[in-house]
């Protein structure tokens, strides 16, 4: 038989898929484990309300974590995600929600706000050629200031029907927030990931010089990454408005979401150096982060000890990657 026609074996493709999504799958596995533990030990057991409450909290951080992913994948970092999140919350609380038409318009305005914030970040980083970390520190202050302009003190309102709908469940116990997150990912992340924009974004994060030499449109892609990050923060801001019915410009909140989004992103297997990882992983990272806190509560751990435990767990999990160091034979490989 002279059959040498097939140049490449088609079996074993799954090997590469596994390798590429290793971080995401790991995060998924850990989350399922933890969530099972949580609902298993929750006094109310595994029922729809428990799941929905957990989902609502988790989705909030997940949205901000996805926003962070867009920027981290380009090997940048966005320290203003929390501020954009809070800003959009405050803007939403100032909008008109009486009629269906007004509500739709309000939603669009809030989304545009986030988009604009992200776009501003992108413009300064790309055309100003400033480092993302310092840029977003400064723009974060600006966005937070604007949030204060909208909402000096907590208040405001939102379309209650819409809010209830988004924070409740569908028949069968599936939380609406989870469905919403799924839709957001389907509509925004998946097309982005499989598009030319997504490819360039990942290429830039992996090797910007090589991307340039390959003739890729780097500026456009980076801009899209930052703008979409802002958009996701806006969706998060909308959602927290649905959950709390108010707008509040809390600096603690903004900082917490920013820093937790970085933790979520790392837990979800996204590399802080760029070019690797997926927003899906970041979502599971966020859910893991939230569930740890809940787990500690459910296991009746003295609430006093919970923040310490949470911190140690976070620390240990980011150190897990250091196990690869044991196998390094050439010390030059230690240097990144």
């Amino acid at each position: 038989m002279t059959d040498r026609a097939l140049p490449v074996a088609h079996g074993g493709d799954w090997r590469f898929w596994l390798g590429e999504h290793r971080g995401t799958l790991l995060a998924l596995g850990v989350f399922i484990l933890m969530f099972a533990l949580y609902t298993g030990n929750h006094p109310a057991g595994f029922n729809a309300d428990v799941v929905t409450t957990a989902a609502n909290k988790g989705v909030l951080l997940a949205l901000v974590a996805v926003a962070q992913t867009f920027v981290v994948v380009t090997s940048g970092i966005d320290l203003s995600v929390g501020a954009i999140f809070v800003l959009c919350n405050c803007v939403a609380s100032r909008m008109f929600w009486e009629t269906g038409l007004e509500s739709a318009a309000s939603v669009i305005i809030v989304l545009l706000t986030g988009l604009a914030c992200g776009a501003l970040n992108g413009l300064i980083v790309i055309y100003g050629r400033l480092q993302p970390i310092v840029t977003t520190i400064a723009t974060g202050a600006v966005f937070f200031g604007i949030a204060l302009l909208f909402r000096e003190s907590p208040g405001g309102d939102v379309n209650e029907d819409l809010a209830d709908f988004m924070t409740n469940q569908f028949p069968g116990g599936i939380p609406a927030s989870a469905v919403a997150l799924f839709v957001v990912m389907l509509v925004i992340w998946t097309p982005f990931r499989r598009s030319m924009l997504g490819r360039v974004v990942y290429a830039v994060g992996s090797a910007e010089q090589a991307a340039y030499m390959s003739g890729l449109q780097i500026r456009r892609a980076k801009f899209a990454a930052y703008a979409l990050s802002g958009l996701l923060c806006a969706i998060g801001g909308l959602f927290i408005t649905f959950v709390t019915y108010t707008g509040e410009a809390s600096l603690d909140n903004a900082n917490a979401y920013t820093l937790n989004s970085i933790a979520a992103v790392v837990l979800g297997g996204v590399s802080l150096f760029g070019g690797r990882g997926s927003a899906v992983g970041a979502i599971f990272g966020a859910l893991i982060f939230r569930t740890i806190g809940d787990l500690l509560f459910v296991f009746d751990l003295d609430p006093l000890w919970q923040p310490l435990f949470l911190g140690i767990v976070l620390l240990v999990s980011v150190c897990l990657g250091s196990f690869r160091l044991i196998r390094i034979r050439n010390r030059l490989d230690l240097f990144g």
């Binding site: 490449v8 290429a203 090797a207 090589a210 050439n330 030059l332």
Partner: protein
């Protein structure tokens, strides 16, 4: 299609480019014809890579013009040059490590369906391109970072072919390929020539250029110093064109070998590591220059790193002056009683901190010696630095300028000077004259012999056979991580080096063994 009937496909006239105060290209001319392979030769720094960058839109020329099909063109970016049909195959620079082979091959213009990238079609295109480029065994979904260098270059070639180029530029594209791969690539290139492509082959390997090229152009100091049909000049004539003067080896005389009973400065016993170094034993005496030979990738670089303490989990013994040493890193290795120095492989990333000043770079390894109680003695430092600059004749505009502004040869001198300031007893050099101009090379050869005469033991890996022949008292030819053969004194000839390098593999030069390194003096 015969391009010569209607004029060259691509022409460059009077092109100049300056970087700071340095003229990279001055009034450069080049004519490329369709259906021909045009070889471009020149030393490093002659302007070949600047020429290529201008042709592919990476940089803009300061003066001059380019015409394609008789019409004037300018390229604002690599994308524009690609659109015009000019594609360049780099050594490694344009592959994205975290993306797959297929993603990289179709990176800038993937097939699309409903606006999104069509993975299945892309994979098919990639497989076809890989087959065309001779890389059928490369899986299209493999991430680039998992591929060895030789495979990456094949992917680079496949990527270029997918763009349907009219002019294909290969810039040192075969340096990491095995001999078998080079054969495949050559047959691909010859086929492309028949199909009417114009190929520009930039290389330093005259043997390859002789086989491939229809005509050659030699660059020197940023100028085109000669264009001639292949085969009309001898190798020596070509080298003289490249270096601009009469060509003669500039090696200092070697001392007569003397039998010595003193303990060797460096002794290695049964050194093994990670299946890349296998049971290596060697000695180097004070005053000796010992060379490491053999084909690329047989463990020479790893041996030097192992001696310097950079590799973990090595087995075997290393003795300095007869005393066992357990080195855990470069900071141990440079200590007085060990006294080792390593001139690393890549001066720009491993040997120097380019933005830092000449002074800071020079004293970096000997800060311990130049200080008391952790405080740096500025006066002693300046004295030592001035001494070194004079000794090695380093051309620099004062000691406060950034090292990145110096020429390649002077940069390498600074790396060497940095280590000489530690007064080493054993000096390890990892291909120290790669990419250095001929004048500086000669200075380095003289320096090495002088250091040996002053009592240092030198272990010297080079990919240039002429250097090994000219400089070394003994050469250890490595194969597959072990010492295959030792040549001493008059035994060291190019023929002996080449044949022992090949024969150690049992004569299997055609499959899986890396190709010969630079034949000929120019590198």
């Amino acid at each position: 299609m015969d391009g010569s009937a209607t004029g060259p496909l691509f022409r460059m006239e009077g092109v100049s480019k300056r970087y700071g105060g340095v003229n990279a290209l001055t009034g450069a001319d080049l004519a490329v014809e369709a259906g021909r392979i045009h070889g471009v030769l020149g030393e490093n720094g002659a302007g070949k890579s600047t020429l290529m960058k201008i042709m592919t839109g990476v940089v803009r020329p300061d003066e001059g013009r380019m015409t394609l099909d008789g019409r004037a063109v300018t390229f604002a970016s690599p994308a524009a040059a690609n659109a015009a049909g000019i594609v360049c195959i780099f050594q490694e620079l344009s592959l994205v490590p975290d993306l797959s082979v297929a993603d990289n091959i179709c990176i800038s213009n993937p097939p699309r369906r409903f606006g999104l990238i069509d993975g299945r079609t892309q994979r098919r295109i990639a497989e076809e391109a890989l087959a065309r480029a001779g890389g059928e065994d490369i899986h299209p979904l493999a991430p680039i970072k998992d591929l060895p260098l030789s495979r990456r270059q094949l992917v680079e070639i496949a990527k270029a072919l997918v763009r349907n180029p009219r002019i294909l530029i290969l810039d040192e594209a075969t340096s990491a390929l095995t001999a078998a791969d080079v054969r495949k690539v050559f047959s691909v290139l010859k086929r492309l020539r028949q199909e009417g492509l114009a190929l520009l082959y930039i290389s330093h390997r005259m043997a390859e250029i002789a086989e491939l090229a229809d005509e050659c152009t030699v660059f020197r100091n940023g100028r085109n110093v000669g264009t001639f049909k292949s085969g009309t000049k001898t190798d020596t004539e070509i080298v003289e064109l490249m270096i601009g003067r009469e060509y003669s080896h500039a090696f200092p005389p070697k001392p007569a070998p003397k039998a010595s009973t003193e303990t060797p400065a460096l002794e290695v016993r049964n050194l093994s590591w990670n299946n890349r170094l296998k049971d290596i034993s060697l000695t180097a005496r004070a005053g000796e220059i010992v060379g490491l030979g053999g084909l690329d990738g047989q463990g020479q670089r790893e041996l030097l790193l192992a001696l310097f303490g950079v590799l973990r989990s090595t087995t075997g013994e290393v003795l300095i002056d007869g005393k066992k040493c357990n080195l855990s890193g470069p900071s141990d290795a440079k200590q007085g009683h060990v006294g080792m120095a390593l001139i690393p492989e890549d001066r720009k990333t491993e040997g120097l901190m380019l933005p830092m000043s000449v002074r800071d770079n020079l004293s970096m390894a000997s800060l311990g010696r130049l200080s008391k109680g952790g405080l740096v003695d500025r006066a002693a430092e300046n004295r030592a630095i001035d001494e070194m600059i004079a000794l090695l004749q380093i051309k620099t505009d004062g000691t406060s300028v950034a090292v990145g502004t110096l020429s390649g040869g002077n940069q390498q001198k600074i790396v060497i000077a940095k280590w000489l300031m530690t007064k080493p007893k054993v000096i390890l050099l990892n291909d120290p004259t790669r990419g250095i101009d001929v004048g500086t090379k000669a200075e380095i050869y003289q320096l090495l012999r002088k250091l040996a005469d002053q009592g240092a033991a030198i272990l010297f890996y080079s990919t240039d056979y002429d250097e090994l022949v000219g400089c070394c008292d003994r050469v250890l030819v490595l194969y597959d991580g072990a010492v295959g053969r030792v040549l001493s004194g008059a035994e060291i000839t190019e023929r002996a080096l080449v044949s022992s390098a090949l024969n150690l593999g049992g004569g299997h030069a055609e499959d899986g063994t890396p190709a010969l390194a630079g034949a000929g003096a120019a590198r």
